[in-house]
């Protein structure tokens, strides 16, 4: 194998090593997801964390944790972090469109009081 070819193959392999996280990184993300889920469920037991009795604190905490979990799954498990930006753009355009359309719908139905 010529030196140039060897270098090319090595670069290709390195690119593949970068392409997806290692198994251990996936496990670490899963542990984070499990901990955040446990924190979400803890908000249900108001006797444990009395400050969650204040509704806006509860809603802000739950939505923050939900978005963080969704972001982690999409970015790491679905590989949006490594894949081409066009995939991220096509997916998030759907998410953005859905969010906008249905928030407007819910406002129209006075769901938020």
């Amino acid at each position: 194998m010529s030196e140039t070819t060897e270098a090319a193959v090595e670069t290709h392999d390195e690119a593949h090593d970068d392409h997806h996280p290692s198994d251990w990184e996936y496990i670490k993300v899963a542990i984070i997801l499990a901990v955040v889920t446990a924190a979400e469920v803890a908000t249900y037991f108001e006797s444990v964390f009395t400050f969650f009795e204040t509704r806006w604190i509860l809603l802000t905490s739950l939505f923050t944790m939900m978005i963080f979990k969704g972001w982690l799954v999409a970015r790491v498990f679905m590989h949006l972090k490594q894949d081409k930006p066009v995939l991220q753009q096509s997916f998030f355009s759907g998410v953005l469109l859905a969010t906008t359309v249905y928030i407007v719908t819910l406002l129209a139905f006075n769901v938020f009081g």
Partner: protein, 207 residues
């Protein structure tokens, strides 16, 4: 180039041929992402409908009266962990470690089946408490939303088992691991939707 290296490199290039598109992404993968993008609108509609109708009980029992949060939390955890086993399957196929890849695929399908078992139990318990599909608008919206999600999980299980059978028949190897990646995208999306449903429908208490 040594003879031993040549076939390996050929296989490597074969695996990359599907990426020879204008976007640099295989058409199948792009199609799956676009499909998932449209699925956001479907689930957005179902979640919004539930939020609009969730208090309309017509004097009957509401889904929120019957939620068993500890039980649903365990189901959610199971589905979340199935996303981990799915990426581990993809990672194993990527390394051409077929035995481990097949095992993780099977574990993922099993975890999906456990989640579905939990949903069947929940629906049965709710029905026995007097909450049928047509009991009130809140019940209809709840069953439609969670039922659609359950249908997606079931389709995912069928796809996972199809991959497992194909791998056992030698039709799925590290060379065409992109098929596992595409099914994985669908599976993670189903998990992603449940993350939203679990918070918005189950955890946010009624005012």
């Amino acid at each position: 180039m040594a003879t031993a290296t040549a076939p390996a490199t050929d296989t490597h290039h074969d695996a990359h041929d599907p990426h020879a598109t204008n976007t640099g992404i295989s058409n199948n993968k792009l199609a799956m992402w676009l499909f998932l993008s449209t699925e956001c609108l479907l689930f957005g509609a179902l979640i919004s409908t539930y939020l609009i109708y969730k208090t309309r009980g017509n004097g009957e029992v509401l889904p929120t009266d019957l939620f068993d949060i500890p039980f649903t939390s365990v189901s959610s955890f199971v589905l979340l962990m199935s996303s981990l086993t799915m990426v581990l399957a993809l990672s194993a196929f990527g390394r051409n470690d077929l035995d481990r890849g097949k095992a993780w695929l099977l574990v993922t399908a099993m975890l999906g089946a456990v989640f579905m078992g939990g949903q069947a139990y929940e629906f049965t318990a709710f029905y026995e408490e007097g909450l049928g599909y047509t009991t009130n608008p809140a019940a209809s919206a709840f069953y439609t939303l969670t039922g659609f999600h359950g249908a997606h999980v079931s389709i995912g299980i069928v796809m996972l088992m199809s991959l497992w059978v194909a791998a056992n028949q030698g039709k799925l190897t590290g060379k065409n691991s992109e098929t596992v990646e595409i099914v994985g995208l669908y599976w993670h999306f189903v998990d992603l939707v449940w993350i939203f449903i679990f918070t918005v429908i189950y955890l946010i208490p009624p005012e």
